[in-house]
Point group: C2
Chain length 408, copies 2
């Protein structure tokens, strides 16, 4: 069944005899008690980092002084105060000069990405995704019935030669490529960072082929060493102002995912279009006011510095454990930020086949095949080090090393 439309299947099901019993409570999903499972599957922020005390202060302040706006319907563009706080942060961090009309607050960056998908993609349109990529976003593009062109990565990010080849082929076939979806920093899942020269090359190619760039910079601030490279949006805006980059970001990694707050910055005509189609029920004025109060109190900067140290220790622990416990035929990325390490196993191993064995050993991961729109990545694994404790990282990698060694 086509995932992108609801056809008569649902209606047939609803009018079938079996559906008449829909209000019979379903059985609870049988709990699989595996208390000792160490999971590297999901890139969840570590709950130990949530600044709940500071947020309590921010919430009290908001409900005391700004209840009439924070508890009321808000603007389709999002909270003015949060937009102002975000513009201030982006100016401080990156020197960006943004007008409020170039910003929209969204329900996390996934809200932003699905909004872009709905607005820019018509059925049958083409777009480029990195291979591997973040399938949460790619599934939004699929729901919009887009055709996905995958372009491979290497250790410097998306391969410009392969991208040029793909764009030229699409152009020759008369196919309109609506945008290039890229994650330049500590990419999810590969962990690689797009090099500075390639950022320029990518912008040039996008301009040449008149396609937009959708820059997903969710992990930007989770950086372990050195300064971040300028974003594609930043190069585009500070350079000769072509205005062809849509950049998304999120408070999920740097404050709290449960607030569901992200943003999109883009040329004003694009923001206007995104706002006109924003019908997701709106982004919470309440959460936005609390995040704004938190930032205005000067809490975010120091918190991000703590997060960088916190996740760096986890990355270091995982890299150390990998070197110690893994067979030499397995290789991995060494990310300078973000939540993920990407493993490459020998070609003949299939990470999906190994997963049940890993479960038996008490360790869990995301098979790399889940990160490709096409049928690739069978010998890849994505490991998230963000949530487990340092001890669990060491122990989990030891377990996984045993599984891999035994399978060779």
């Amino acid at each position: 069944m086509d995932e992108t439309t609801v056809d008569n299947h649902l209606y047939a099901e609803l009018w079938s005899a079996s559906a008449r019993a829909w209000n019979t409570p379903a059985a609870e999903p049988s709990g699989r008690p595996r208390p000792s499972l160490i999971s590297f599957t999901y890139g969840l922020p570590d709950a130990a980092t949530f600044p709940s005390e500071e947020l309590t202060g921010a919430a009290s302040l908001v409900l005391r002084e700004h209840a009439a706006t924070a508890l009321q319907y808000g603007s389709i563009h999002g909270s003015h105060r949060l937009i102002a706080a975000l513009i201030h942060k982006l100016k401080d961090d990156e020197g960006l000069d943004l007008d409020p009309n170039q910003v929209m607050i969204t329900n996390g960056s996934s809200g932003a990405l699905s909004q872009v998908a709905r607005v820019l993609l018509d059925p049958g349109d083409y777009m480029v995704a990195e291979a591997p990529s973040f399938l949460g976003a790619v599934n939004s593009f699929r729901r919009a019935q887009a055709q996905i062109i995958e372009v491979p990565l290497d250790s410097d990010g998306i391969r410009i030669d392969a991208l040029e080849h793909a764009l030229r082929a699409a152009h020759a076939a008369g196919r309109r490529v609506k945008f290039l979806y890229v994650m330049p920093n500590y990419q999810n899942p590969s962990g690689v960072t797009l090099s500075f020269p390639r950022r320029h090359d990518l912008l040039d190619l996008a301009a040449e082929y008149r396609t937009l760039i959708l820059e997903d910079d969710a992990y930007r601030d989770i950086r372990f060493e050195g300064d971040a490279l300028p974003s594609l949006f930043g190069i585009d805006a500070l350079g000769d102002i072509r205005g062809h980059v849509i950049r998304t970001g999120t408070f999920s990694k740097i404050l709290a995912a449960g607030l569901r707050l992200g943003w999109v910055i883009a040329p004003e005509p694009i923001i206007r279009k995104l706002a006109a189609f924003k019908d997701d029920g709106g982004t919470s004025p309440f959460s936005s006011a609390i995040a704004a109060a938190y930032i205005e109190a000067g809490e975010l900067g120091p918190h991000i510095e703590q997060l960088q140290q916190h996740y760096k220790r986890k990355r270091d622990a995982m890299l150390r454990a990998l070197r110690q416990h893994f067979p030499p035929s397995v290789s991995w990325s060494e990310p300078v930020g973000g939540f993920f390490i990407w493993l490459t196993l020998p070609d003949h191993l299939d990470a999906r086949t190994l997963l049940p064995i890993a479960h038996e050993e008490g360790v869990d991961y995301l098979p790399g095949a889940a990160c490709f729109a096409s049928d690739s990545g069978s010998n890849n694994i994505r490991l998230a080090y963000s949530q487990p404790s340092l001890d669990d990282i060491e122990e989990g990698i030891k377990r996984l090393g045993r599984v891999l060694t035994a399978s060779l």
Copy 2:
């Protein structure tokens, strides 16, 4: 330009010379200082009713005891605790027996309605809307490129004879009507309530023509007298279980719109489908946890009783002022709940033409034409009494009465 797709206009604009200056700050919209304007335009909840003190307590509790879940990513179906609290409320209020699989928490009821639109409607599908209706929802259906069949209301709600006629005609033309969008209680904008016999007739017609009912019950609890009639969902579920009703509700009117929390209850196959397509960034675990804590503390029931008294006083004040200040050729609905009164002016008057004159007098309203998908309602006005003070209601109606009297 077709509002439902983004065609080459946007891309052309982005590559035009003028777009190169997109990062020039736009001029501020010129503020029209009219401090004494009394607005009956929007059905906003009265900020004076927001229980900010109790929400402060709920927020502190959540951040002290449940931060690890409230600040983390959540389930696509929404917070289990909020779902449990909602099921409990619907059992207490209406005797509904709901399984958690029949409930999804959404970003307000507008999030629920647009989700239903995206999942159930394919381009060219047909659906029925009341005339007049809530255009916020109707615009979501339009974005999904649905064809809208309008069926008129009378003082007992949607006209069953006209509905049957419309369904028969659609059926004869081979047009699949995906659902009937109705608001049975104190309808927005007309204020009318669907009578009990008609609720049964509507369900029978939907079953006969194998179409679903999308029941928007946003104002259900804002009731001024007597008991609420059973919902279409309730009659359907408690009767012979046909399972063809999707009902949406919201905490926006009974707690705080700024939390962006609503819900949809429906047969489990529909909820499963809605969840599979939920890509709006998710409904806030943080706001959900706070709302759940508020309800668990037993605050919601007494708060709703206060709201009923509060808005009843406003409705009464508006009805009183209408009787006192309006010319006899204008008639209006007398809603038993909700936020709106619907005016019918003499045929020759156009509410859009009168609006600038009303502005001059310092009063504002929604022209009825904004509540029809077709070109109707020129002599109608929607008045919202929810937000202005009692004094402003009296004064605003007096001003509007002057405008109407002078225009006759």
